[in-house]
Structures are given as structure tokens and as C-alpha cells.
């Protein structure tokens, strides 16, 4: 009788059509504890995270949440602040970033002519509506134009476009961006900055202090007004500063400030990276690439405007002066540099490149491997402290596989 019932159930089971939901199960080594893990993806979300049976040999790759870069100026020749930006360009850059393990990013527009900023934000806003890549762009970063006009502090930002904070003007930019500006870099010491910061925070925009020469008091006022971040600490700063009174110490000492750092191996020394990491801790540090549009292109000579630039495999230089012109490493590279420079765990390195930005910008579905989160994942190996991306999943779909 029992046998008959079992047969019956078996036949019934054969008759029920297999559900059309595709489940993909990825086998790898968890970035959290370096133990084997099975991660199942269904309908674009993570549906299960399990320990595999002891005897199954898994592939030798790490698995982690996709990386999130909140400061990137362009990629594969597409310049988000440039005159030639198109929706197609943004799509191309996004897909190229997926190959580098970056599944989410904030295209960053720097200090430029106001009309250019508006035009480019409108293009970015259009690109966000693209069903294929739109989810990879939850917001934009406006770096400037309300920053220090002083040489050194203004960095590569053009002085003629640097302005005093103006709430009405910012609202116009925000309107062009269809409310996509989620992060703005501002100098706290310039005229009108503090009330401007307060208004930005009230409107839901995260304010980061950068390209500034703010005093400890001015930085504290900005924090009181709701500023939460410091932009690429140690860069966007003059070469010679007062040893006691400079913009770096107060940002290091204040736990209310999360700092972003360009740990590409060139923009900060190993000692700076180690010191910043020790002072801020893993919770208060995030990695950004600050990459120029040349990033992702083959090394060589390129012309930008009237300048001749040289792209090495790691960084962009001005050939005449032989000085740094900008970064060219996606944050997957910075993860490797953090491991190398600080000896931190992989868990901490990924936290700084994914979990922390997700938390800071309220990207609730991202930054962790957990049931119910969006299935944005990377599979990678680490070879000589370099992250090598093997596969990238966005929204549960395989979008990149290394040949």
C-alpha cells in the first residue's frame, strides 16, 4: 500500500510542470569568513545562502556583493563631464564597469560650465531610465562647483567655473538631474556653505566635504549642519599645509565623518592609507576610484582638450611635467591595494567598497549577500593582492564572464 502511494505521488510529481522560475546557484568562497558557500539567485534576488555539503569540492573563487563606486568621472573614454556625453556612452561605460566588478556607481560631474552640468545631468537622468543598465546608477555625484578656488585645494577643477553656494542654482541642477543628485562635494569654509549644506541635507542629499581648506570649527559647523562625508581625504589638498591647523586632522578625528579614499597605489602613500584606515576604522572608510574617463582604455597617449595625457596601466600622467593627472583604476583594483597596504581582511576591504556605500546612501537592497537582497554579485580570485574578476551578476543575470 505504502509503495503504491509512493508511486502515485511520484507520478503526480512528474505531471506537475517544473516552475518556470530559473534558479542559479553559485558555488564559491564567502568573502565574509572564507568558508565555502552556495548562493542561489532567483528573480533577480538572492533566494538562499547555504553551506555546501562537506564533500563537494567547489571552485576556488571568492564570492562577494558587487562593488559600489560613488566617485567616478568616466570610463572607457566616456567622460561624464565632457561635451560629448550621450546615453549610449553611459550604457557603454556601465557595461565596461560590470567587467571590473562595479555593479553600482554614481557618475560624477565635476566643476564645469553650469549649462554643461545641466545638460550632462539630463543625459545621465535619461540613461537611468534604461531598463538594462539603469539599476546600476542609483544616483549621481556633483563634485563642485561650490569648492575652494585656491590653487592646490581646487585640484584639477577649473578656477573660472568655481562658484559660491547658491541653493536656487543647485535646485535647477537637481531638476535637470530629475532629483538624481544624491551626493555633493562642497567646501565648508566658503561664503554661504553652512546654510547651503543644511538645505541639501534636508532635501535628502548626502553632503561630503572636499577640495576645501576648512578649519576645525568650519568642519564642525558643517557636520552640525548634517555633512556626513569627506571626499578623497588627502587629495584635493595643497602640497604645503600647516602641521597643526589643516583640513585633514579634523576629518580624521571626527567619527561623524566617513571618508572616501583613492587607494589606487598612487594618490596616497602606503603610510597615508594605513594611517587613515587606522584612524577612521573600517566603518568610517569607503573606497572610491575617482577614475578619469581614460580608465579602462589601453595604455597610450591621449589628447584631452589642449592637454596631452599619458595613460599607464595604473594612472594618468601629464607627460611634460611627469606628474599625476588623475586616477585610472576601478575600485576592484583599490580593494587589492587595501589588502596589500593595510593587511586588512577581505571582509573589511569589501565592506569599504560595497557595504558601507550601500548603507551611507540607503541602497537597502545592496552591499550584502543575504536572502532578499538584489542579486548583484562578483566572483573573483586574488592573485598577488590583485582582484581578478571572473564573473559579474547584475540583477541575477550573468553580465560578465572572464574568457
Amino acid at each position: 500500500m505504502k509503495f503504491l502511494t509512493l508511486c502515485f505521488i511520484f507520478i503526480l510529481a512528474l505531471m506537475i510542470p517544473i516552475e518556470s522560475v530559473d534558479t542559479i546557484t553559485l558555488h564559491g568562497i564567502s568573502y565574509l569568513d572564507e568558508n565555502p558557500v552556495l548562493v542561489s539567485l532567483e528573480n533577480g534576488k538572492i533566494s538562499a545562502v547555504e553551506q555546501p555539503n562537506q564533500n563537494t569540492d567547489g571552485p576556488d573563487v571568492y564570492i562577494a556583493p558587487g562593488l559600489i563606486d560613488v566617485q567616478i568621472n568616466g570610463y572607457v573614454g566616456v567622460d561624464f563631464s565632457g561635451p560629448d556625453l550621450t546615453v549610449e556612452g553611459v550604457i557603454k561605460a556601465t557595461k565596461a564597469l560590470w567587467k571590473a566588478g562595479v555593479t553600482t556607481y554614481f557618475p560624477t560631474i565635476i566643476t564645469s560650465d553650469l549649462d554643461r552640468i545641466k545638460k550632462n545631468f539630463a543625459i545621465l537622468a535619461e540613461a537611468r531610465k534604461n531598463p538594462e543598465i539603469g539599476r546600476s546608477i542609483p544616483g549621481f555625484h556633483l563634485e563642485g562647483p561650490y569648492i575652494s578656488p585656491l590653487a592646490g585645494f581646487r585640484g584639477a577643477h577649473l578656477e573660472k567655473y568655481i562658484r559660491k553656494p547658491n541653493w536656487k542654482e543647485f535646485q535647477e541642477l537637481q531638476e535637470a538631474a530629475e532629483n538624481g543628485i544624491k551626493l555633493i562635494t562642497v567646501a565648508p569654509e566658503i561664503d554661504g556653505a553652512i546654510p547651503f549644506i543644511r538645505k541639501c541635507v534636508e532635501s535628502g542629499v548626502v553632503v561630503s566635504l572636499g577640495h576645501h581648506n576648512g578649519s576645525a570649527e568650519q568642519i564642525q559647523l558643517a557636520v552640525d549642519a548634517g555633512a556626513k562625508m569627506g571626499t578623497h581625504l588627502g587629495n584635493g589638498c595643497a602640497n604645503e599645509i600647516n602641521r597643526h591647523h589643516n583640513p585633514i586632522w579634523p576629518q580624521l578625528s571626527n567619527d561623524a565623518i566617513t571618508v572616501s579614499i583613492i587607494a589606487d597605489g598612487f594618490h596616497l602613500t602606503q603610510e597615508e592609507v594605513r594611517t587613515f584606515y587606522k584612524a577612521k576604522g573600517v566603518e568610517n572608510t569607503i573606497l572610491v576610484s575617482d577614475a578619469l574617463d581614460l580608465a579602462g582604455l589601453p595604455p597610450g597617449e591621449y589628447v584631452r582638450g589642449e592637454r596631452k595625457l599619458v595613460l599607464t596601466p595604473d594612472v594618468v600622467k601629464l607627460p611634460k611635467e611627469n606628474v599625476l593627472a588623475g586616477a585610472a583604476s576601478p575600485i576592484s583594483k583599490c580593494v587589492g591595494v587595501m589588502l596589500d597596504y593595510t593587511g586588512c581582511s577581505l571582509k573589511n576591504a569589501i565592506q569599504m567598497a560595497s557595504t558601507n556605500p550601500a548603507r551611507l546612501f540607503s541602497l537597502y537592497g545592496l552591499g550584502e549577500i543575504e536572502v532578499g537582497k538584489q542579486a548583484d554579485l562578483i566572483l573573483f580570485s586574488i592573485e598577488d593582492n590583485q582582484v581578478v574578476i571572473k564573473q559579474t551578476y547584475v540583477d541575477g543575470k550573468l553580465v560578465y564572464k572572464q574568457d
Binding site: K228, E283, R359, L360, F361, S362, Y364, V371
Partner: protein, 254 residues
């Protein structure tokens, strides 16, 4: 503060208006969270929703609290509504506090999860792994805490999280607060933390403003401790503060 008093173990205080009350409750919660952070480096918090929490949540996000060290849970969520629904408690919390404070970790109770049993099981496990330092709650017009309405409230509930049917009074309150266009739109079921799950929290901060709640407040303080008015159970908790305004306290004798 206009007055304060203690009934059984419950400490209550009455404030002039909802803003004063919200400030006082926020200061209380801040000191408990910061105390926990000092002691063990992190804190676990439960937040409540509803119109009664507006002034408190507004005040709380302005307090000096290191949110990067705080893990947040919430009390309840309707069954079957998405986090985009205007009445969703997840949406409420994101917009009214979480987006701006960016806590270390948030556990959302997904009332629209495909497998609710699994969702409740996961939430229960997460709660067990994070002993709660402060639970912020309110009291409903029918005397409920979370969605433990009188018919379903159980002081000895073996579960941590359960699926409950909402009683008529409770659903009418949700309609009255304007979260839904008609009574038919108010879901008939919800997921809720149980009473033992709430009573197991180290500290409870209970915020109850408004005339609408005067009857429930009176019952909480004066009725015998029973599930007829679930909030009466708070009088047996060793570390609970009840924050009232003059309107919600209007039925209490001087």
C-alpha cells in the same frame, strides 16, 4: 514635563505637547543606546511606526548617536503589501528616519515575502541573535502593542513573530490615520512581534500622544493586567518609560 508618576513598575511622564514629549523620549532612547554602545560597542534597537511616532522619530534623528553601531528592527508590517505601498511600515521608516541616519544594519520584516513562514522564522532568528537594548513602541486605540490586538494578544506566546488577523478597531484606526482610502483597503492580516518578544527587551520606550489615545492610556494604567488591554502588561516590565502629552493623559485623574 508637567508631571510624572509610577504605576506598578511603569514610569510615566506627561509633557505639554507632542514635540516636548518626542524630545524627552528621544533623549531617553539616546542615553540607553549610547550606554549600550559604551558597554559593548554596539546597540540593537526596535522602532515603531504610526502617526504617534512622528515627533519622536523627528527628534531622535537629530540626537548625537553613532548610528553606524546600531542594528535596527521594527515591530510589524501588513501582510501582502510591498515596501512601495504608502502604508508600508518599511517605507515609513525609510523615509522618516532610516534614510537620514543610515544605521549599521536594518532587518526589514517583509510582509510581501513569498514564503511568510520562512520570513517570520528568519526574523525570529535575527532577533534572537541581537538582544534588543531599546524597543520603541506605541499603544493603539484598542490598547494593542505592535499588532497584538486584544483577540490575538498572548502574554505567554511561544513565538517571537507571528501572523495575526487585525481586529475591526485596529483597522479603523489605520483608516482614521489616513494610511488607506477605504476600510476595505486596510489589510486583514499582519506580521507582528509577539508580546514576549517585546517584553524581553532590556528597555522599552513607549510614546503615546493625542486625544484619540486617552482611553487606551487610561486603561493601560488602571485596568487589571490582561489581554483585554494588551498594553497593561507594560506595568510588569522592569524598565519601561511611558511618554504622554496632555491630550493622551486627559483621562488620568490628577
Amino acid at each position: 514635563m508637567t508631571k510624572s508618576f509610577t504605576i506598578d513598575q511603569l514610569q510615566a511622564a506627561v509633557y505639554g505637547d507632542p514635540n516636548e514629549m518626542g524630545e524627552a523620549a528621544a533623549d531617553f532612547v539616546k542615553s540607553k543606546l549610547n550606554g549600550a554602545i559604551q558597554q559593548k560597542g554596539e546597540a540593537n534597537l526596535i522602532l515603531a511606526t504610526g502617526a504617534s511616532q512622528f515627533s519622536f522619530l523627528k527628534a531622535l534623528q537629530r540626537k548625537a548617536i553613532d548610528w553606524k553601531k546600531i542594528t535596527v528592527f521594527h515591530l510589524d508590517e501588513y501582510k501582502g503589501i510591498s515596501d512601495q505601498h504608502p502604508a508600508s511600515f518599511r517605507k515609513y521608516l525609510k523615509e522618516r528616519i532610516l534614510d537620514s541616519v543610515a544605521p549599521k544594519k536594518i532587518y526589514f520584516l517583509n510582509g510581501d515575502a513569498p514564503d511568510l513562514e520562512k520570513e517570520m522564522d528568519n526574523y525570529s532568528k535575527a532577533l534572537q541573535q541581537h538582544p534588543i537594548d531599546v524597543a520603541c513602541i506605541g499603544i493603539g486605540e484598542n490598547g494593542h502593542i505592535a499588532f497584538n490586538d486584544p483577540p490575538v494578544a498572548d502574554f505567554n506566546d511561544p513565538k517571537w513573530v507571528k501572523l495575526v488577523s487585525l481586529d475591526e478597531d485596529c483597522r479603523n484606526q489605520q483608516l482614521g490615520e489616513g494610511w488607506f482610502p477605504t476600510l476595505d483597503d486596510v489589510p486583514k492580516q499582519a506580521l507582528t512581534l509577539t508580546i514576549p518578544a517585546i517584553m524581553g527587551c532590556k528597555t522599552i520606550s513607549c510614546v503615546v500622544p493625542d486625544e484619540r489615545k486617552a482611553e487606551a492610556v487610561y486603561n493601560t494604567l488602571n485596568e487589571e493586567i490582561s489581554t483585554k488591554c494588551p498594553a497593561t502588561v507594560l506595568r510588569t516590565h522592569p524598565n519601561t518609560s511611558l511618554f504622554l502629552d496632555t491630550n493622551s493623559a486627559s483621562k488620568i485623574a490628577d
